[in-house]
């Protein structure tokens, strides 16, 4: 059954949604959109690094994404002008990564794959990596759920309850870097941010509680994957962008529903 490329692609997307639903909710709550982009774009640099040093792609992207995530997180606690700093980091990481990749001949031909993913070419080995990473991230978030929510809502309340918001920030940083490495094959560096934010934003329109929003975002992510793959097969469109397009459809639907309900 796993031999069928469509089934592997569906499993890859659903596996990724397991992590991006909850993590994406935190990205929305903490307004970390640029943070996600900076980390995701750094993955391109990781690919160049991996190819140049004969490391596995997964290891290279994970290492560079982690470095970027920790850097951004550290700058954030020092109170830098985050908007600008993150903008610079996000875009320069992408540009420098693309320049680095252009030096490696075998990578040049695959450039589009790294930018937009290649979900229809997911192998059984990739599936193991994706599911392993996604389950790890989900487990981490479930384990730290209450402290994470408290620190996200208000750091002062977290401190007063004996929690350390900096430690919770580190948990999210680690989770984000892992998701970037995992998502690269599925939606590519350019659309990882979209996979995190759009399903969560769509879920926000109808959710009443944080858990409801995270679960709904997971379902929307998985649903968008399955429908996006069908769209891709039917119209011969690229896989990753088709998934994000369907997810955006969910967002528009949810936003309209929310508006009608408030009326």
């Amino acid at each position: 059954m796993l031999n069928d490329f469509l089934i592997r692609a569906s499993l890859a997307g659903v596996g990724l949604s397991l992590a991006t639903g909850s993590l994406g909710s935190f990205v929305v709550w903490r307004r970390m959109a640029y943070f996600g982009d900076a980390t995701a774009h750094a993955a391109i640099l990781g690919i160049a690094l991996a190819l140049a040093t004969d490391l596995p792609i997964g290891t290279g992207t994970l290492a560079v994404a982690l470095t970027m995530a920790v850097t951004v997180s550290t700058l954030a606690t020092r109170g830098w002008a985050m908007d600008i700093t993150l903008g610079v980091l996000a875009h320069s990481a992408l540009a420098i990564g693309l320049v680095a990749v252009s030096f490696i001949s075998e990578a040049r031909t695959d450039l589009q794959t790294y930018l937009f993913g290649d979900i229809l070419a997911v192998s059984q080995g990739d599936l193991g990596f994706i599911w392993g990473g996604a389950v790890l991230v989900l487990g981490l978030l479930v384990w730290r759920w209450q402290p994470l929510l408290t620190s996200t809502l208000n750091t002062d309340l977290a401190y007063a309850s004996g929690l350390n918001p900096n430690r919770e920030q580190l948990v999210l940083t680690l989770a984000l870097a892992t998701v970037v490495a995992v998502a690269l094959k599925v939606v590519g560096a350019l659309l990882i941010g979209a996979m995190l934010i759009i399903p969560a934003a769509a879920a926000r329109g109808v959710a009443r509680n944080p858990e409801g929003m995270a679960i709904l975002a997971t379902l929307i992510g998985a649903g968008a994957t399955l429908a996006g793959l069908q769209l891709s097969l039917w119209q011969n469109t690229p896989g990753g962008p088709s998934i994000i397009t369907v997810a955006t459809g969910f967002f528009v639907l949810s936003a309209s529903l929310g508006k009608m309900r408030r009326r």
Binding site: P147, L153, A158, Y159, A160, L163, R208, P210, G212, M213
Partner: protein, 249 residues
């Protein structure tokens, strides 16, 4: 052992010295009120005692595993996070429905359980924050202007509630307040803060200190009479710190 023992705290924020050489100790079961003008460092002191802010000098010692219920002055809730009152009460520790309902009833807003935090009025939100703080079964309640947004009967009821909570749970209370009369009626000890501790003592003693009258603007006659009385009992000398040196009346 004291719940909190802070010695010689100096706190700087963005290069400004907000607190200078402040020492404060909170014992189990006492109600302590911090008074002082705007910008005198009251909230900063509370947040320093909670170890939210770092100290430049001095140290804060908390009793081991101290359970604190904290009600901040303001809590900005981001609209991006959906959160009902009921769910909020279970942060960071899960509480049962019965306990949650009882806490909301105790603070006088039993009807808001299923409302979103962002839909609450200022006064309702303040009470929900207090309910959450109580559910932590605190040994120490820290309240930063807890009666803002309440009308006068509401304030009176609030201070009655605080005394009742202390009686039922034995929790100590450290609060910042501007409601003079209620403070005087409900506090065991009052600290007058203005960057440093100007004076402290029982409400009666502090109410006779000149800073206090500068703040609350009592008649001069009355001020002098009370001040003389305070000097007669010889207590203010002990607790009265050198305010002249810090350049305020």
């Amino acid at each position: 052992m004291s719940l909190i023992d802070a010695k010689n705290l100096t706190v700087r924020l963005d290069g400004h010295e907000i607190l200078t050489n402040v020492s404060i100790r909170i014992e189990a079961g006492e109600i302590v009120t911090i008074l002082g003008p705007n910008g005198s460092g009251k909230s900063t002191l509370l947040r320093t005692l909670l170890r939210i802010l770092p100290v430049a000098e001095g140290e804060v010692t908390q009793a081991k595993n101290l359970r604190v219920g904290y009600v901040p002055q303001r809590l900005a809730v981001d609209r991006s996070m959906p959160m009902t009152v009921r769910r909020f009460l279970s942060l960071p520790l899960w509480v049962g429905d019965a306990d949650a309902a009882a806490a909301l009833r105790q603070v006088g807003v039993p009807e808001v359980t299923e409302q979103q935090l962002t839909e609450l009025s200022g006064g309702q939100f303040q009470r929900v924050l207090l309910a959450r703080a109580l559910l932590a079964r605190p040994q120490l309640l820290m309240l930063d202007e807890p009666t803002q947004g309440l009308d006068q009967p509401g304030k009176t009821a609030f201070y009655r509630l605080i005394k009742e909570i202390r009686r039922e749970t034995g929790a100590a209370v450290l609060m910042i307040s501007h409601d003079l009369h209620a403070v005087m009626a409900a506090s065991d000890r009052v600290i007058y803060l203005n960057g440093h501790i100007c004076c402290e003592g029982t409400p009666q003693i502090v109410s006779t200190a000149p800073e206090y009258h500068a703040l609350f603007g009592f008649g001069l006659q009355e001020t002098l009479a009370l001040y003389r009385h305070a000097h007669d009992n010889g207590h203010t000398e002990l607790v009265h710190h050198n305010h002249a040196e810090h350049g305020h009346a």
